[in-house]
């Protein structure tokens, strides 16, 4: 079993009003060092199969078709073996 981790973020030039609101709330709590906040999404995909390279290409395809919208978002993905799941069973 492999796990795909997908991080989707609004593009830098796209307005992120939720990130702005979070930033303001942090300032209100006294965290003056916070300069900016961007809010994105994190998804975990449990993947059947052992071929990490092939699964990575598949997840990349999923990101382009559904998980992210290239007009407003960029994504980053990782595919790795689940801890303790090494080897076939």
């Amino acid at each position: 079993m492999l796990i795909g981790r997908v991080f989707v973020m609004p593009k830098q030039e796209v307005l992120d009003p939720q990130g702005k609101a979070i930033c303001q709330s942090l300032h209100a709590l006294g965290y003056a060092e916070v300069d900016d906040v961007r809010l994105g999404k994190y998804m975990e995909l449990r993947l059947r199969g052992e071929d990490a390279a092939q699964l990575r290409a598949r997840v990349d395809d999923m990101c382009r078709r559904l998980l992210a919208n290239g007009v407003i978002e960029e994504y980053h993905l990782e595919v790795e073996r689940l801890p303790g799941a090494a080897g076939a069973r």
């Binding site: 609004p10 796209v14 307005l15 009003p17 939720q18 559904l66 919208n69 007009v71 407003i72």
Partner: protein, 240 residues
């Protein structure tokens, strides 16, 4: 004129569009199920407002893969008319039938109000009977209506006069205060390159009778249908 109104799981303005087209306008309109592929030879497909698939992931992200969307794409490529209202506009953008995307309102608030929009082009099947620059009063109700696209896309939309509606104030000026959701250039509606695919955030189907507060919306449907929107009398007499 035959209209087909698509129902996705979570659509909630589909019956309102059918009512506007049949009871008010007098046209033939039928509901189409999102799992169907057959458009039943309709002339115009309407993707109505609502919350298809619960707005999960992104508004319209799931609906674009419904089986009927393959037929809608083919219909659009043949020059057939497609009208996307609110969630329908979001779906058209997600599906790539219109450029850009609709994101969370800048205010983070769901807006539900009647706004003024200015007709920016009459060179579309849906706005051909309006006067250029005419100001319409139309209802909006959305949380994700902020239209965004990259600078090149915005420039192309403006150059090709594909911005159909813009949010304006009482004097017809597209000011930041008149912009209910933060849309770039106060954009409320656009057409695709063939001008046959029209997406807008306001709800014309909720403005089809004076009893409802206005009938400016009816004229979009009437124009596409080639009918003159009748000035219908109020069905209930106003009080003294």
């Amino acid at each position: 004129m035959k209209w087909g109104v698509v129902t996705f799981p979570g659509s909630n303005d589909d019956a309102d569009v059918v009512y506007a087209l049949t009871t008010v306008l007098g046209d033939d309109a039928r509901q189409l199920w999102h799992k169907d592929r057959d458009l039943q030879r309709v002339d115009c497909v309407v993707l109505p407002g609502g919350f298809s698939y619960g707005d999960y992931l992104r508004c319209g992200a799931m609906a674009k893969f419904s089986p009927i969307m393959t037929s809608v794409r083919e219909h659009a490529e043949r020059g057939g008319l497609v009208l996307g209202i609110c969630n329908g506009f979001q779906i058209l953008c997600e599906a790539g039938l219109l450029p850009g995307a609709l994101i969370r309102n800048r205010s983070l608030l769901f807006v539900c109000e009647t706004v003024r929009t200015r007709v920016e082009t009459t060179a579309t099947p849906f706005t051909s009977t309006f006067g250029p620059g005419e100001i319409l009063r139309l209802p909006i109700k959305h949380g994700e209506g902020c239209y965004v696209a990259d600078a090149e896309t915005i420039r192309r939309l403006e150059d090709e006069q594909r911005v159909v509606l813009r949010y304006v104030d009482a004097e017809g000026r597209a000011t930041p205060d008149a912009n209910p959701n933060g849309s770039l250039n106060n954009i409320a509606g656009i057409v695709g390159p063939g001008r046959n695919v029209f997406g807008l955030m306001p709800h014309p189907e909720h403005a089809v009778e004076r009893l409802l507060g206005g009938d400016d919306g009816l004229r979009f449907f009437a124009a596409a249908s080639g009918r003159h929107a009748r000035q219908r009398p109020l069905s209930v007499a106003p009080g003294p």
